[in-house]
């Protein structure tokens, strides 16, 4: 069983995560857009403003979570799409590796930036 889960054979887990993250993203993305384009105009964003928001723990947490889910959702989406194009064997493993690294890097960098903004680091 475990073996089946660890490989990609059963699509159920990534499929489910894709949907769960999507549901979460609906809320956060809408909030994000609204906040940074309507409440605070994007052209008026400043470092001070950003770090002021980021200093709130709730906001920081939301943003980090936003980043993580979006990264997973996006990267997993790309991977699934590529699989649908008939990616198999070595190529499939390579793509999986590259996407995983890119995803992790993005998440790491993003989280780091967020922490810096909030002044924690």
């Amino acid at each position: 069983m475990a073996e089946r889960y660890s490989s990609f054979r059963s699509g159920s887990r990534s499929w489910l995560f894709q949907r769960v993250t999507a549901a979460f993203l609906v809320v956060v993305l809408a909030f994000h857009f609204f906040l940074l384009h309507f409440v605070n105009h994007a052209s008026e964003v400043t470092f001070a403003g950003t770090s002021a928001r980021m200093e709130q723990w709730g906001y920081l947490l939301t943003m980090v979570l936003f980043l993580l889910t979006a990264t997973f959702h996006g990267v997993n989406g790309v991977y699934a799409a590529l699989l649908n194009q008939g990616l198999t064997g070595t190529k499939k493993r390579a793509v999986k590796g590259v996407l995983a690294i890119a995803g992790l890097a993005l998440a790491a960098q993003g989280t780091y930036v967020a922490l810096v903004m909030s002044g924690v680091m």
Binding site: S43, T46, A81, L106, V113
Partner: protein
């Protein structure tokens, strides 16, 4: 003896004319999804200017002349960027709305109306985007 013929290109003739709601939704969702991931990467890259900025003197930050602020505002002052932002909004709104539609489809809710809900996503996307244009383009033109 018997051989068969793979029509390759020919076989898809006529498909576009009959490309149905579900297929367009699929194509558009794919496209918008990819754009969004692309944006996510650039977005984080741009935001990374916060790293050097955080080391800047507090005066610089207060004066809003740190790298972060200047980069962002510099970008925002370009008309092209604003237009792209509208595009991004369109892409995101469509992806959200159609994503919600897909979530319903996954739950097996309202499958009979799947084509209608797709058209609805398009219409609503257009409405939201048009309504947001003034806010998005404010001050550049």
């Amino acid at each position: 003896m018997s051989q068969s013929y793979n029509r390759g290109l020919v076989e898809d003739f006529g498909r576009w004319r009959e490309f149905t709601a579900g297929m367009w939704a699929w194509i558009l969702h794919k496209f918008t999804g990819w754009v969004l991931v692309g944006y996510l990467f650039t977005h984080i890259a741009v935001l990374s200017t916060a790293l050097p900025a955080s080391n800047a003197a507090s005066g610089v930050i207060a004066a809003e002349t740190d790298v972060y602020t200047t980069t962002l505002q510099g970008l925002e002052s370009l008309a092209l960027v604003r237009v792209l932002e509208v595009g991004l909004l369109a892409v995101a709104v469509f992806h959200i709305l159609n994503g919600v539609r897909l979530l319903f489809v996954d739950l097996g809710v309202g499958l009979e109306a799947q084509d209608k809900s797709f058209y609805a996503s398009l219409v609503v996307t257009a409405a939201i985007v048009l309504a947001s244009v003034p806010t998005f383009l404010e001050g550049v033109f």
